[in-house]
């Protein structure tokens, strides 16, 4: 075999899912330009380099935008969260009334099992709003 060793092993989606199942919320960070990306992929979105490292997130972030989905079964929040590391992801803010989630709200990640492991957010301690 003459495959390129830089791409050996499980792919980035599989690596991310396996870590999440062990309770770790990972991001990829570019070794060349430090940009963090989510969801996982083979190259840096900032500079195109395939030289990415996995790092555990702080889990801290802020709501970039937010909507309340009106559903017969009950309303729920869908938000885009900007992580402190710089990546943005879709998630939801839990444990508060969906209508009280607002842009700029400081949030912290939690891993829940629904039943698959899933990253959700709750208001950060100290964000009284």
């Amino acid at each position: 075999m003459s495959t390129d060793p830089r791409f050996d092993g499980p792919g980035p989606d599989e690596t991310w899912r396996s870590a999440l199942a062990e309770g770790r919320f990972l991001l990829q960070q570019c070794r060349r330009c430090d940009t963090c990306r989510f969801p996982p992929a083979l190259v840096c979105r900032g500079c195109g380099s395939p030289d990415l490292a996995w790092k555990e997130t702080s889990g801290r972030g802020a709501v970039y935008s937010s909507t309340t989905v009106r559903d017969r079964e009950g309303n729920y929040n869908v938000s885009l969260v900007d992580l402190a590391e710089g990546a943005r992801m879709m998630s939801r803010v839990e444990s508060v009334d969906p209508d009280s989630v607002h842009i700029g709200m400081k949030v912290e990640a939690r891993i829940v099992h629904a039943p698959e492991p899933l990253v959700v957010f709750v208001p950060a301690k100290g964000d009284a709003s």
């Binding site: 909507t67 309340t68 729920y76 869908v78 885009l80």
Partner: protein, 383 residues
């Protein structure tokens, strides 16, 4: 910039089934009828078509299905699928293929039975595992997130968005072929059922059936055909993301780039456009594209719209057929922005005709603000 493509190709035939609710007719039935109408419109036949450009929501192999049904012998084909903007990507591709002699007669076509098949948006398998678990309402919640951010950054209001829907309805009331006609008030829009804040049912486009097609040839051949050609003065396309979380800035779309490319090829700017068609999948998209295409400054779309500028008798005629909000929206609406632009340049729009329309801009969107494509069309006077 490929300035040399300006005016080298023209839309010579258009077909529009106007069958917005047609039980018993499949997407391919709608598409075939539109193709026949477009060829008859310009006096060409199926045997003349040697370039085929199509996309549908119901099939991953549209070129094969359409070529078989219409009995086409194609020597060039493009089934690019980027959602509702696909057909303007196809137009740019057709202009290039015609220029290089890869084909002589290009047929761009689409059909859908979205309404009569049950009203659900048919989408091809394209799982998004990093979004699906959070159950965003597809595709409404993605547009809601863009609208919420625009409101936060620029103070845009639900009233501003309602005025987009009001303008669309006012135009539809001048178009006997529009699906949704009749009186509509701002209060009715504002009190419509909330779906995904801040987007209500009335901020969403219609769900209809429909089929549309274009025939495109080189300009030298266009002059000899039955109808006045609509010359392709400029095209531009851009792609920015698949999932809404990957969109760099939710208040600025890649229409900035597709528009810049189209204006550069055409050698004109927004002030010289007589007639505008922008894909109004939701009221927020009209606002975003008017800003991103330079018809008003970023952040001022709300005030611009609420001034009455885009409604009949306003300063900028926008979506004069009634748009996706009030004329028709068969799943992927992009091709209909071109159909209305050509009709306006031909002076064939009756009560809603823009007097002296010589230059029209059509803009289409696909995915969740993901793909953007702009076309600038002109009459013979603009060459």
């Amino acid at each position: 910039m490929s300035r040399s493509l300006r005016g080298n190709a023209a839309i010579v035939g258009i077909g529009n089934t106007k069958r917005w609710n047609a039980p018993g007719r499949s997407p391919f039935d709608q598409l075939q009828e539109a193709a026949i109408l477009a060829l008859e419109d310009c006096g060409l036949g199926l045997k003349d078509v040697d370039g085929l450009f199509c996309a549908v929501s119901s099939s991953g192999l549209p070129v094969l299905n359409v070529a078989e049904r219409l009995g086409l012998t194609v020597r060039h084909a493009d089934g690019t699928m980027v959602g509702g903007a696909s057909f303007l990507f196809h137009l740019q591709s057709a202009v290039s293929a015609l220029e290089h002699g890869l084909c002589e007669v290009a047929l761009i076509c689409y059909g859908s039975n979205q309404l009569s098949a049950g009203g659900r948006l048919v989408s091809m398998p394209d799982p998004q595992p990093y979004e699906a678990a959070y159950k965003p309402r597809f595709p409404i919640s993605s547009y809601a997130l863009a609208a919420a951010r625009h409101m936060y950054e620029f103070g845009t209001t639900r009233e501003n968005l309602a005025d987009v829907a009001l303008a669309a309805r006012a135009w539809a009331n001048l178009n006997p072929d529009a699906f949704a006609r009749g009186p509509l008030t701002r209060e009715e829009i504002l009190s419509s059922r909330m779906v995904s804040d801040p987007i209500t049912r009335a901020d969403c486009c219609l769900v209809t059936d429909g089929g549309a097609a274009l025939v495109v040839t080189r300009a030298d051949r266009a002059r000899d055909l039955a109808k006045p050609p609509a010359y392709v003065l400029g095209t531009g396309v851009a792609v920015s993301h698949r999932q809404i979380a990957a969109m760099p800035d939710l208040t600025t779309t890649a229409a900035v780039e597709s528009g810049r490319r189209a204006y550069a090829m055409a050698g004109i700017g927004p002030a010289e456009i007589d007639h505008v068609m922008v894909y109004d999948a939701f009221t927020i998209t009209t606002l975003l594209f008017l800003e991103d295409l330079g018809f008003c400054p970023k952040g001022e779309g709300g005030a611009f719209i609420s001034s009455g500028a885009i409604a009949p008798r306003g300063t900028l005629p926008v979506n004069t057929n009634g748009g996706g909000l009030s004329c028709n929206h068969p799943g992927m609406y992009g091709l209909f922005t071109i159909i209305e632009a050509v009709e306006q340049l031909r002076g064939a729009c009756g009560e809603r005709q823009i007097q002296g329309a010589e230059v029209a801009l059509a803009h289409a969107n696909g995915g969740v603000l993901s793909s953007q494509a702009t076309a600038i069309l002109g009459s013979a006077a603009t060459l």
